[in-house]
C-alpha cells in the first residue's frame, strides 16, 4: 500500500518539529511548507493526499490557503485546518473555505491523526 502523502503548512518551528516526529513515526510521507504561497505551490506540484494547514501564517491566513488549494484544478487533496484556538467563528470560516475538517492542536496531534484516518477511511 502506498504511503499516504501529507503536506503540512505551518510557520511555527516547534510545531513543524512535532508534526514531523509524530506523523513521521506513523509512516506518512511528509512534506512541509512554512507559508501559504509555498504551500499552494507544493500542493500543485506534489499532489498530496492530505493537506494540514495552520490558521495563523505569515501573509495569507490558513483559510485563504485552504480556499486556494481547494480551488486548484484537479485537486483531490483533503484539507484539515489545524488551530491553536477552537472558536465558533473560525469554525464557520473553515467550513466556508471548504475545509474537510477543523481540529484543535494538541501536544499529541491526536485530533489531526483521527481526522486523517476518518478522511482516508484508514482503519475501517
Amino acid at each position: 500500500m502506498a504511503k499516504l502523502k501529507v503536506l503540512v503548512i505551518e510557520d511555527n518551528e516547534d510545531d513543524v518539529f512535532l508534526v514531523k516526529k509524530i506523523l513521521g513515526d506513523l509512516g506518512y510521507d511528509l512534506l512541509v511548507a512554512m507559508n501559504g504561497e509555498e504551500g499552494i505551490e507544493k500542493a500543485k506540484t506534489e499532489k498530496p493526499d492530505i493537506v494540514i494547514i495552520d490558521t495563523i501564517l505569515p501573509g495569507m491566513d490558513g483559510f485563504q490557503v485552504c480556499e486556494a488549494i481547494k480551488g486548484l484544478p484537479e485537486n483531490k487533496a483533503k484539507v484539515i485546518i489545524n488551530t491553536g484556538n477552537i472558536d465558533a467563528i473560525d469554525a464557520t470560516r473553515a467550513r466556508k473555505a471548504g475545509s474537510d475538517e477543523y481540529v484543535a492542536k494538541t501536544s499529541d496531534f491526536q485530533y489531526v491523526i483521527e481526522a486523517i484516518r476518518k478522511l482516508t477511511g484508514e482503519g475501517d
Binding site: 516547534d14 492542536k105 501536544s107
Partner: protein, 382 residues
C-alpha cells in the same frame, strides 16, 4: 402685600415639610414661600411675597416653562417638570456650592373662582442626590466594566499564547518517557517524571484560566428561565454518569421561573451536579449516592437554590477555598471534582448579584447553596 392671608396660619403647615412650596397666582405673583424655599433661595418669605416669580427668575419666561404654566391656569391641568429634562425650576446651589439642586417639580392648580384657576401650588422635590449618585454610579460601572474586559482579554491572550510552548514541552516529555527512559539513570528519570508532573499541572491551570476567562467574556442577555426545565435538561445530559454511579436524583418540582443568563446557569448546575456525583459516589459505599436539588423562597428579594449530596462532606476550613481558582491547598483542590468548575460557578453567581456558600461537615454530605436576586419589575438587570 403684608396682609397676604398666607403669612398667617392658613398654609403654615407647609413650612414643616422637606419640600419646597410656593403658591402663585395667575399673574405669577408669589403668595407663599415656605421655609424650605427660604433656606434654598436664601431669601426670606417676607421679601418674596407679592413679587413676580417671573421677574425674580427670568428663565421661567422661556416657553418651555411659561407656555405650560399658562396652560395650567387656563385649563386647570397640573404640570410636571422633571429633573432630567429641565435643569431646575428655581436655580439653587447645593450646600457645597458645587452644583445645582436638581428638582422634580409639580405645579398643581387649586382655588378656582368662577371656573377660573386663580392659584397654584408649586412643589419642588430635591432629587440631586439620587441623580448625581446615579450618574457617578454609572461612570464607575463603566470604568469597572472596561477594566474587567481588559483583564479578561489579557487572561484569554495569556492562556492562549502559553499553550503553544506548552504543547512542545508536553510532547517532548512524552517522547522521552515513551522511548528513552531505559537509556537514563534513575536520577534523570526522576527529573523527567517531575517535569512531566509540573507540565501537566501547568496545562490544567491554563485550561482552567481559559475556561474562566471565556465565561467572563461572553455575556448573554437575561431571560425568564423555567428552572425546573433547566435543571432537568442538565440532568439529562449527565444521564450516563448518573446511571453508571447508580445515583438517586431528586429535583424539587416547585422551582420558579427566574430572570437569569440561562446558558451560564445551566453551567452552574452542571458543575455542581457533576461535583456531587463524584463525591457521593466516592468513599462511603454503604448507602446509595443521592443528590437533591431544591429551591426556597429565601426572601422578598432573593431566590435560594441548593444542590445537596450524601457524600464525604467538606471540612469547614476549606469551605471558602474550594471556590478559589489558584492558591488552593491540595486538600481543597481535592474537593473540586471538576477542576475549575467551582470557580466558574462562583463567578457566574457573583455576576448575577447572588451569594454562594457551603453547608457541610466531614462525613455528613455537602450542600451547595446559592441565592439569585429576584428581578424587580423594570429594574436594571443583566
Amino acid at each position: 402685600m403684608d396682609d397676604s392671608p398666607f403669612l398667617k396660619d392658613d398654609y403654615h403647615i407647609l413650612n414643616f415639610v422637606p419640600l419646597g412650596h410656593i403658591i402663585i397666582d395667575e399673574a405669577f405673583r408669589v403668595l407663599f414661600w415656605n421655609q424650605r424655599m427660604e433656606e434654598w433661595s436664601k431669601i426670606p418669605a417676607k421679601q418674596m411675597v407679592g413679587k413676580s416669580l417671573l421677574e425674580l427668575y427670568p428663565h421661567l419666561k422661556e416657553s418651555k416653562y411659561l407656555t405650560r404654566m399658562k396652560m395650567m391656569f387656563e385649563t386647570g391641568s397640573p404640570v410636571v417638570f422633571s429633573a432630567q429634562l429641565q435643569k431646575y425650576f428655581i436655580p439653587i446651589k447645593t450646600s457645597d456650592g458645587k452644583q445645582w439642586v436638581l428638582q422634580q417639580t409639580m405645579i398643581n392648580p387649586f382655588k378656582r373662582v368662577k371656573g377660573r384657576v386663580r392659584w397654584a401650588l408649586v412643589t419642588i422635590q430635591d432629587v440631586t442626590d439620587p441623580l448625581t449618585r446615579l450618574k457617578e454610579y454609572r461612570v464607575m460601572l463603566n470604568e469597572v466594566e472596561a477594566a474587567n474586559k481588559e483583564l479578561d482579554a489579557f487572561a484569554h491572550t495569556v492562556s492562549h499564547d502559553l499553550r503553544a510552548p506548552l504543547r512542545l514541552i508536553t510532547a517532548c516529555v512524552r517522547f522521552l518517557r515513551e522511548d528513552h527512559m531505559k537509556d537514563f539513570s534513575p536520577e534523570v528519570r526522576n527529573y523527567i517524571q517531575r517535569i512531566d508532573k509540573g507540565v501537566r499541572r501547568l496545562q490544567s491551570m491554563i485550561d482552567d484560566l481559559l475556561k474562566l476567562s471565556r465565561i467572563s467574556r461572553i455575556r448573554n442577555p437575561y431571560e425568564d428561565t423555567d428552572m425546573v426545565r433547566l435543571v432537568r435538561s442538565v440532568v439529562e445530559r449527565l444521564e450516563y454518569d448518573i446511571e453508571h454511579n447508580n445515583v438517586e436524583m431528586v429535583i424539587a418540582p416547585d422551582m420558579p421561573v427566574i430572570s437569569c443568563d440561562c446558558i451560564k446557569m445551566a453551567e452552574v448546575f452542571q458543575n455542581l451536579i457533576n461535583n456531587a456525583i463524584k463525591f457521593s459516589s466516592r468513599g462511603n459505599r454503604d448507602k446509595r449516592p443521592r443528590i437533591e436539588i431544591g429551591y426556597q423562597d429565601f426572601s422578598p428579594q432573593e431566590h435560594l437554590f441548593w444542590v445537596a449530596d450524601n457524600g464525604i462532606g467538606i471540612e469547614e476550613k476549606y469551605h471558602k477555598q474550594v471556590f478559589e481558582l489558584f492558591r488552593r491547598t491540595e486538600e481543597a483542590k481535592g474537593y473540586d471534582g471538576t477542576g475549575a468548575g467551582l470557580s466558574i460557578v462562583k463567578k457566574v453567581i457573583d455576576d448575577h448579584g447572588g451569594d454562594i456558600w457551603i453547608e457541610s461537615q466531614l462525613g455528613e454530605g455537602t450542600t451547595f447553596k446559592f441565592t439569585i436576586p429576584k428581578k424587580k419589575i423594570g429594574e436594571e438587570h443583566g
